[in-house]
């Protein structure tokens, strides 16, 4: 009898322990993220100038997606105008460079101005919820582009075109600067998944009403995370300004970049630690591969990816991999993303009577 119970209890009945262990998923995500960034760091040694150029941009988009993930992925607020911070960073840094002040000062100033702008913008806009918030932020980015164009900030109509050129050596430097920024964003993301502030954001995403009722000052958390997501974008903009040695309002206030931030984040997995980084690498690398082989399919890919992500991968690549790595419960059938996607479309058609 005693031996019988012993064999019974060992693997199966003790599986759900009374005190659940804390998940160590964040640690694995952090290590994997460091590994990815470490591998990318070898590009200047193993690749040519074109590779370096492409990977600089890939990591720049990773930074933009990672920063969007703070407000869009964690707090669940679909900010569709975050490119405005990128542009503000670029212009602030550019103007300071033109005034013959040091580059680092321009970067810091850009981050401060963008942070302040996010604060002042967030105060009214974050009183809105859902679609209203998304549309308001979209409008801001467009308004800023018009403002900069009409006021001819930086002179020359074409934006800042007379920046001092960096030498080739500093291309590598800029690559590592972007990589460092991406690492910073990775660390902030890990912090968010572990901290009081991060739990507040997730609570806001899942139910703002319940979050407020549990004692979370939701409004100030939203404003805070909006500022937090503005700063890395502005730093990326500042780096881009110098790196590109000239840009115009249409480039740095391009709403397409905002859309890309959103897509890359959702492609990888919104609200996850590695999602934006993986989304950016997968999408932008593919896009550059097409470009190298003679087709410039960037916008086509963008549109196609939006459709695919919406229908088949609403949870992103990461969750898909996790789902397949997971041991399914006995008798449980693994969800097939393709079948699920088709079902989703059918349901939509049925509901809308197409």
């Amino acid at each position: 009898m005693a031996t019988g119970t012993k064999t019974q209890t060992s693997p199966t009945t003790q599986a759900p322990p009374p005190k659940p262990k804390e998940g160590r998923g964040w640690l694995w995500s952090l290590l994997l993220g460091l590994l990815i960034l470490g591998l990318v760091a070898t590009v200047p040694f193993v690749g040519n100038a074109a590779d370096l150029h492409n990977w600089t941009l890939i990591i720049m988009f990773a930074v933009l997606a990672q920063s969007w993930n703070f407000i869009g992925g964690f707090a669940g607020y679909s900010a569709f105008g975050n490119v405005v911070f990128f542009g503000i960073g670029a212009y602030t840094t550019g103007l300071i460079l033109l005034a013959n002040l040091p580059f680092w000062l321009g970067l810091i100033a850009g981050a401060l101005v963008a942070g302040l702008f996010a604060l002042l913008l967030g105060l009214p806009v974050l009183r809105l919820r859902g679609h209203y918030f998304a549309i308001a932020t979209l409008g801001i980015a467009e308004a800023m582009r018009e403002f900069v164009t009409v006021r001819d900030v930086g002179g020359g109509g074409g934006g800042l075109i007379s920046l001092p050129l960096p030498s080739l050596d500093s291309y590598v430097l800029f690559f590592y600067a972007f990589l460092g920024l991406s690492l910073l964003c990775l660390l902030i993301t890990v912090f968010l998944t572990r901290s009081r502030f991060g739990y507040a954001l997730v609570a806001i995403r899942e139910s703002e009403q319940a979050a407020e009722a549990l004692g979370i000052p939701t409004y100030w958390h939203k404003v805070g995370v909006f500022v937090l997501s503005a700063v890395p974008a502005a730093l990326a903009g500042g780096l881009y300004a110098y790196w590109a040695t000239g840009f115009d309002p249409d480039t740095v206030f391009n709403v397409g970049i905002s859309v890309e931030m959103v897509l890359l984040t959702f492609l990888g997995g919104a609200g996850t630690i590695l999602g934006p980084l993986i989304g950016a690498i997968v999408f932008e690398y593919t896009s550059f591969q097409f470009q190298a082989s003679g087709f410039t399919l960037h916008n086509t890919l963008l549109g196609l990816s939006i459709v695919i992500v919406t229908i088949f991968l609403p949870q992103g690549i990461l969750r898909l991999i996790q789902e397949f790595a997971r041991q399914p419960a006995p008798g449980e059938r693994r969800a097939n993303p393709f079948v699920e996607g088709v079902r989703r479309v059918r349901r939509f058609i049925a509901a809308n009577g197409v």
Partner: protein
């Protein structure tokens, strides 16, 4: 069962009744809440003393949930004043009220689906009255889950729970904020009779630990068995406020709930000597 019922009442009448009569835990003064032309809550005044369980019943659209929203802070009244521990809280935001010790549940449970049950409850402990650290909050969450009998599902995600467990999670999260006043908005709706009995027992236990409870419910028998006092709302107005047995035999209440004809029928019955509240009491006795 009779012990559990009589204990909070006794303490309330004994020490609570006299010296706290001057300063109730919660007091609503001529609260009016209009949505456009409709007065969802119309000139409502009542007070709630420490250690009490106040039941609020009323037909659909009587203004019960609006009342919880008003006390919890999700909406502010068109006019009137709300006092909590003597302070005017009429214009405070929900999170400020939570920090003062008012916690609420939602009629439609709103679990944080991306978090597991334990983390859901932990959020309440992290941001509630005590603002516990992460490690302390996890410990507090485990304790609360034990108390509401949900510990065995601690690792489930918020959206993998049954209706009854979602309601338990609502209560657990609210408890994790360490409230003095707990507002329960239809936590028994949609539960089986056994689950209702468990919920009633849970409310009694919480009350014994010193939590004052305002419980809104459709299930009249459950309310009658658990409350010290029952308040009846109809079209936003208070039409009765008394001990459960008195309220349930009040012709106005019966009319509001069951219609005029049934009320007349019942009044005739009671005139012919049949006690009215009898069925309800039997029901409540059978459940717990």
């Amino acid at each position: 069962m009779s012990d559990a019922l009589s204990q909070p009442m006794a303490s309330d009448a004994g020490q609570g009744g006299d010296d706290q009569g001057s300063m109730p835990l919660l007091q609503l003064e001529s609260i009016i809440k209009r949505f456009g032309g409709l007065a969802a809550v119309d000139n409502l005044s009542f007070s709630l003393h420490k250690g009490e369980i106040l039941g609020v019943i009323g037909p659909n659209g009587a203004g019960k949930s609006t009342m919880v929203d008003l006390v919890g802070g999700a909406t502010t009244p068109t006019s009137g004043t709300i006092f909590y521990q003597g302070h005017n809280i009429t214009r405070l935001s929900p999170h400020q009220r939570t920090h003062l010790g008012i916690a609420r549940t939602f009629q439609i449970a709103q679990p944080f689906k991306g978090l597991d049950v334990r983390e859901n409850v932990m959020v309440g402990a992290l941001f509630g009255q005590q603002r516990l650290s992460r490690a302390q909050a996890l410990r507090a969450a485990d304790e609360v889950l034990e108390r509401v009998n949900l510990a065995h599902k601690a690792t489930f995600k918020g959206d993998q729970l049954t209706i009854a467990d979602r309601k338990r999670l609502e209560i657990a999260r609210a408890l994790a904020t360490e409230p003095q006043l707990l507002l329960l908005d239809e936590v028994m709706a949609g539960l089986t009779p056994v689950e209702v009995a468990q919920a009633v027992e849970l409310i009694r236990q919480l009350n014994k630990m010193g939590v004052t409870v305002l419980v809104i419910e459709h299930i009249v028998s459950a309310i009658a068995s658990v409350s010290n006092r029952v308040l009846v709302l109809h079209h936003g107005r208070k039409i009765a406020e008394d001990e459960p047995a008195q309220v349930l035999s009040d012709p106005r209440v019966i009319e509001a709930y069951l219609g005029e004809r049934y009320a007349r029928h019942r009044t005739q019955q009671s005139a012919s000597g049949l006690p009215i509240a009898k069925d309800d009491q039997q029901l409540s006795g059978g459940e717990s």
